[in-house]
Symmetry: C2
Subunit: 206 residues, 2 copies
């Protein structure tokens, strides 16, 4: 069994990967922990320490091969494959997510979108026909989808999360500004702009 | 001068505040670090340790008064006041942010929204008339706005960030999936759904 990697290390890897892919798009081939650190506002030592948890990815003094390291990080994060994702909620955020074309190169593919409003069901969002959320559980189960994004009002979010869990979803990204309760074995990430803004106001001068 | 609080502690406070406000809305008056911890998936000891950095907020054995603690955390985070925020980019995300009514109770007020597309300028988004981004710097400067959200394509994000910095903005929440470079004294937070999804795929079974 592999050793347990702290979640805080895992949480930084996607940012490293994004920076590496950005460098790759700029036509770059080699980078260093110093350069990565400067781009990300993280110390070079931290980056070296994080990466060393998974093996040796660069030679002392010659830096990292960007493409090689990016592929290694993809493999660690399990995004050297494509994950199907369901969206629940076809409001502004749900529609924006359905129409966003940046997922495919990061390991994700939107597969279906649901809403409970009769006037929305059957209409289009981001190239998908909006499905009735009454059918959500069976459709997600049948498609074997393990990831979902919740973009419904706060009051509905827990109910939706419960159904997603019953449908076999193991990872939920929620845009609803509430804390969701899920059983062990299911992971939740939250995107709440107020939380991010409040993380910065602490540092602002009054 | 007050002691330096680790950023990781600050990063958890907004989530505590959100949970406290949620309890308050449920009509609750007292909570404990145990209950907060269960709601948030954080250990009670961690919560007590974090809060103890700022003083004594509860009595041993009697728990925390929810309203009092919420107000204290608001004060620590500087959100016992209202911050004006500018939005740059009136695409799907920018429009969703402009129309979102959850900011006011969390300490923020959207003040203006900008776009560079002639066909969007002068039209409405979330109750705001979209302004020409050519006027962004002077308008933000004149209004004394210190916070902004960037919702423009990745290729435009750094240019927008540079202008915001020149306009005196000190805190940027970016929805563009790129690493922004800003001078010392300016803070950036990123919201990138792929990053959050990739933080979870590590834990998913293949």
């Amino acid at each position: 069994m592999p050793k347990q990697i702290p979640d805080i290390v895992i949480s930084r890897l996607p940012t490293y990967l994004r920076a590496l892919l950005q460098m790759s798009q700029e036509g770059r081939q080699v980078t260093s922990s110093q350069e990565l650190g400067e781009r990300l506002g993280i110390s070079a030592a931290q980056i070296r320490k994080d990466l060393s948890q998974f093996g040796e990815f660069g030679k002392q003094g010659t830096g990292y091969n960007i493409e090689f390291l990016a592929n290694q990080v993809k493999e660690i994060l399990n995004v050297n494959r494509v994950w199907d994702v369901a969206i629940v909620g076809a409001g502004d955020i749900g529609r924006a997510l359905a129409g966003y074309n940046g997922f495919s190169e990061r390991g994700f593919r939107i597969k279906m979108i649901f809403d409970n409003k009769p006037e929305k069901i059957g209409t289009s969002a981001g190239g998908f026909v909006i499905k009735d959320s009454k059918t959500m559980k069976e459709e997600i189960l049948a498609a074997g989808i393990k990831m979902a994004m919740i973009a419904v009002p706060a009051t509905h979010a827990q109910g939706v999360a419960d159904q997603l869990v019953e449908a076999g979803v193991k990872a939920i990204l929620s845009y609803a500004p509430v804390n969701l309760n899920v059983p062990a074995g299911v992971r939740v990430q939250n995107i709440d702009p107020s939380i991010h803004l409040q993380r910065m106001t602490y540092y602002l001068e009054q």
